[in-house]
Symmetry: D2
Subunit: 301 residues, 4 copies
């Protein structure tokens, strides 16, 4: 018998909408052991949140996130609001014993993240950061093949995640370009995904050296004339050594013209290679040494 989980969603923009859709669709197409119930959604604009609730079938809406935390009929708090409020909401929610599902990046900096982690551990609540790529079928297959030993011990990992939505210098200053709101730029927004996948597929990172760069240092203000400083990175690159002995290369940027949302991963092991590209997200490429030499090659699964 599946168990109902009463969801309180905070934030209904891009990711909030994606989460709402997922909660609804999972019940239509699958029989999950934990069945989400679209109980309460929270946003600052009352009209907009009411319309959102009606479209996706939320039972209630509110403009006060503290209500989500305090309501006894909410089991899970979904934090899809901007990065600067993740910590406050998560800490409050943990104290009232709610399960916590927080959008990435978890926090604006390491200190904030560690505080959040300590609080949820002390509160002994279920908690999770939303890293969606782990759940892609091709990534799960990669994980399975690695576990089965198909490519042997891992030696090298490379991951590239390129976007171009900030390449236009007249694109106005958004909260994602201000350190006090976003914490970081491409590092927290896109690099987190490839770091998460590296941890999922290869293991923990032991050493790192890297480089951040901001190419467009000033942008127009969104609401009045004038320019203001961009206080986060446009691009981040880093080299790592994993605890297990592998080495890795990571690169992300938000200013690569024409690269709408390009992500490429490759894992080289002693005996084989796996690679995956998000533009063909259901395809995993696999090379192993099996078979006669005249038939060897990458397999598109």
């Amino acid at each position: 018998m599946s168990k109902e989980v009463r969801v309180g969603l905070i934030g209904y923009r891009f990711m909030g909408r994606a989460h709402a859709n997922a909660y609804r669709q999972v019940n239509a197409f699958f029989d999950p052991p934990l069945r989400p119930r679209l109980k309460l959604v929270c946003g600052r604009n009352e009209t907009a949140v009411r319309e959102f609730a009606s479209r996706f079938g939320w039972e209630e809406q509110t403009t006060n996130w503290k209500e989500v935390i305090s309501r006894p009929d909410i089991d899970l708090v979904d934090i899809s609001a901007s990065n600067d409020v993740h910590a406050e909401i998560a800490i409050e929610a943990a104290k009232t014993g709610k399960a916590i599902f927080c959008e990435k990046p978890l926090a604006r900096d390491l200190k904030e993240a560690l505080t959040m982690f300590r609080v949820v551990q002390e509160a002994e609540v279920t908690h999770m950061v939303c890293f969606n790529y782990r759940f892609f079928p091709a990534i799960r297959l990669a994980k399975r093949l690695i576990k089965e030993g198909a490519i042997g011990r891992i030696r090298q990992f490379r991951a590239i995640y390129l976007q171009d939505w900030l390449v236009d210098p007249t694109f106005p200053l958004h909260w994602r370009m201000r350190r006090e709101k976003a914490g970081s730029g491409a590092l927290g927004d896109t690099a987190v995904h490839i770091v998460d996948l590296a941890r999922f597929l290869v293991g923990e990172i032991a050493e790192v050296t890297g480089l951040l760069e901001t190419f467009i240092k000033e942008r127009p203000l969104p609401d009045r004339p004038g320019l203001a400083n961009v206080t986060v990175d446009d691009a981040a690159t880093f080299l790592v050594r994993f605890a297990g002995g592998a080495i890795g290369v990571f690169e992300t940027t938000r200013v690569a013209p024409g690269r709408r949302n390009f992500m490429h991963l490759e894992v080289n092991g002693e005996k084989g290679t796996l690679y995956w590209n998000a533009e063909a997200m259901n395809t995993l490429w696999c090379y192993t040494e099996e078979g006669p030499p005249h038939c060897q090659g990458f397999r598109r699964i």
Copy 2:
């Protein structure tokens, strides 16, 4: 009227054979201003070098490289021998006023390379390191488009060069795996190509941080039982800042299973992106902002 250049080739294995073929074919298909004449080829094994000379149409052969240097009827000395003799031959050749065409890597280390450079400069002879990728039509087109301003000022560069010929741990210890002969491993053998292309397309490198790794630390001796240490790198990764302000990521390895000879380059500018993959070596991909939004996309040239 084209001028004849009398070539003395030292080394007739993999690269020597490629050079011999090129000297011969350029005269059949093109009308170069400098027309190579296959005058003298040098190798240590007399029978083999004689057979090689006959196949490719060399006029004479020798087993003594000093003969190549000292002969007055040789204009150009082509150094296609192993890395450890590049410096000695080049320095001697420069002293006799020959033009010098040296295979990459130029030398085993920076000191050796700088000495060579100083000598050829003092001797005022024509000199060049063989970087073949610069001459690929797609790379020349990339250079042309960058010069024409098609992608604007360059911001980011990434280059990956993966091979797998050393992935088998039973592959015996070759001179390319010994520091005293080769100088370095993947760094000097394959990374040099992408560094050269970066310098060709983007410009000089100002700062670098990197990481070398040797995964297979011992290999069988080629000529008797037993193992010996591999004293060069299997893989090299590095991050750079170019003098012009761009940043770059480089990676090369000789142990990526299934990657026979995979090279990928990408250049992101303010206004566009170019990328190229050696597996489709005559194809250059280009994105620029031109045209109406519903028609934008990468163009495969």
Copy 3:
């Protein structure tokens, strides 16, 4: 103000489920001028149809399709049942004045289809066959570019649609492999999509010559021991002349190993080429003669 359309869905398997999902999602993500209301769903198995109704949010369910036709509170009848009942249901529905949305293939043969067409025309009801590919963004973009004259007058069209779900000869005899139920095999199931796209992009077909083939002539019965004849085609190929002067080549099969659902379209005009492959369904490739010669190439939009 959007108008509500009360839907009665007949059939809830593969396509019925897809339609139900679409009716529900269109209201969540868009503001369509006609807003579907999930009123009544019909299926033969009462338990299954009840469960389906609950999952997707249908207000009522029934096991009698005549109820769907006769109910005054149904505006649109969606026929997602097997091919052999399309005609009967559509004709009855037209007589009661319902709008009709019928899955492809419309009918089992030309005579049946023409009868259906005559009846709905006489009844003056809104009617449509479900050809989903027309609505793919890349196909709509192709249509737009053709209309804008980007490739000039069309000369050639080619379409390939390959599947492999029937390649296993032990796959049992399904209603889709019996002429009296399905009408035809690959011709009606998959070729219809590419014929529809040809009509959408190029125009009406004037002449045709073709070839049908059944490679696996007998298959196991699904419900008892023994084999029975396959009475429809496994593969269909045909050449056409369009009314507008272009020529075309079509091929479809259900027995191409490894080709899960491979569809490729290409249109050659006087001045350019468009092609599209369903494996990268949001990518349209476009070649036109614009630009300087050294920049010409296919553009991936």
Copy 4:
């Protein structure tokens, strides 16, 4: 010990040059059992043929093809001249006992081809039509895999060969566009290659139905003002049944914008699929049913 074959080459333009290069290179890189000797080359323009002979190392040249036939020191006559003289030269050469190597298309029509075939058979000379694609490594591998039974009995074959060199309507009337010289258009020029590959990989063709089309019916004269009729096809499409039971689809054209030289082949068997695209001419794609279901996919060899 390899045997020398003294070659007499008639025609030194596009294909003659390719043959001359091949004769020369095969001796440099391989040890063929029959070693070509570049004895005599024939062309109508004395200056041009002399320059050609000197570039590629032919011993002698002539402007009279009858000399090539009559010389006792010629073993092989290579017919790389225009289509309208293939028959006359081949028949004469056969009568003097020369081995014959004739460019495709063999003849302008079936009657001419059958006459040639009868004469060389009666003369009992070695003879061959130049179909180069059979010798591509990927095609030879496909042949080998088919022979080894990797994909089972063949059911379907498809081949597309697209070019665009005639898409410009101002491109002048060339001998290849006149029936009396060329025999046919795309049919004899490009379709012959895919028909040859079909015979090589699948077997003999038993039945055929097809369609020829000429889109650009008039073209400028090359040497004086005015237009003249194009008397050959721009495009050819045909459906076949092979003697072994497989079916096939063929298409070729010379007016597909942007398709410089696009050739795609696919063979579907009972147990697997092979496909190949000339744009990546050293890559063969192979799907077979081997391996666990979660690893199945096309393999890029």
